[in-house]
C-alpha cells in the first residue's frame, strides 16, 4: 500500500497572519472558518477583532423609504451621449444632464444649487 513520504507539517504561524493570507487570496470562506476555529480555541493570545469586523456578514439595517425614479432615460442618455463627456463625471435626472465636470467634489457642489441635484444619478465616463 502506498504511504505518504511525510506528514504535512501543521501551520504554526499566528492565526492573524494565516487569515490575512486567505483574505488577500480571496479565500473568504476559508478565512471565516479559520477565524471561527481561532475564536473557539480562544487561547492563542491574538487580537482578532479586526478580522471579526472584516469577515462579518453584511447586515440589513432597514427597508423602506423614498422611491427613486425609473432610471431608463438616464441609461439611454449614457448610451447616446456618453462619448461626448469622456473622462468626466455626469449628473443625470430623468434623461436630463444636470451638470458635468472632471472633479466629483466640484460637481457635487454645483448640484447643491440645482432643484433636482439631490436626486441625481452620478457616473464617471471612461
Amino acid at each position: 500500500m502506498a504511504q505518504p513520504l511525510r506528514k504535512p507539517e501543521p501551520d504554526t504561524r499566528p492565526y492573524a497572519e494565516r487569515i490575512r493570507e486567505l483574505v488577500e487570496q480571496d479565500y473568504v470562506g476559508a478565512a471565516r472558518e479559520l477565524l471561527a476555529e481561532a475564536l473557539e480555541k480562544g487561547d492563542h493570545g491574538e487580537d482578532l477583532s479586526g478580522w471579526q469586523r472584516v469577515l462579518a456578514p453584511a447586515k440589513v439595517l432597514r427597508v423602506g423609504g423614498e422611491l427613486d425614479i425609473d432610471r431608463t432615460p438616464d441609461f439611454q442618455w449614457l448610451k447616446d451621449h456618453g462619448e461626448t463627456y469622456w473622462g468626466q463625471w455626469v449628473a443625470l435626472f430623468g434623461g436630463e444632464l444636470l451638470g458635468h465636470g472632471e472633479n466629483l467634489k466640484e460637481l457635487l457642489a454645483k448640484l447643491e444649487h440645482h432643484p433636482r441635484g439631490r436626486r441625481a444619478l452620478l457616473h464617471r465616463l471612461y
Binding site: 488577500e24 473568504v28 427597508v63 449614457l78 467634489k105
Partner: protein
Amino acid sequence: MLTLQGHAFTLGRSKFSDHSPIRFEPTAKVYVNVQFGDRSQSWLAQLDTGAAWSVLAPDVAQAVGVSVESGDPALLITPFGVKTGYLVRTTFSLVADEGEPLHAEGQFFISPDWPEGLNFLGYSGLLEFIRFALDPQANHFYFGPGV
C-alpha cells in the same frame, strides 16, 4: 415583488443598465443603482458575483464621507493589478423604483490608486447575504433581505 412558495422573496426592484459605460469594456455587464453613506445622490455599481470583495471608488468614498482609515489594511489582487487599501465597513442602499429600498452595511475595499468612479458590488460580505434576482428581458434588478 417576487414570492417564493407564498412568501416574499424580494421587496424592492430597480432598473439596471446592461450597457457598459466603460469604453474599453466590450461585453454587457449589470450596473445597478446604489447610494452610499448619507448622500441622497446615487451611483452606478457593477454587480459582480465573481468578485470576492465589493469596491468603492476612492473619490466616491471621499464624497460620501467614508473614513478610509477606519478600516483594516489589505492588499488585494484585482483586474487592475495588486492594490493596497483598506477593507471598510460602510452603509449603502439598494435604490428601488418599485417596492422598498434596502439599507444595509457591508465591507468595501477602498484603494487610493483604484480608478475614479468604478464601484463594484461583490459576493463576499455583501451579495451573499441578500437575496437578488435579475430579469434580463426587462432589465429589472430585484432585491431583498436574506434569511
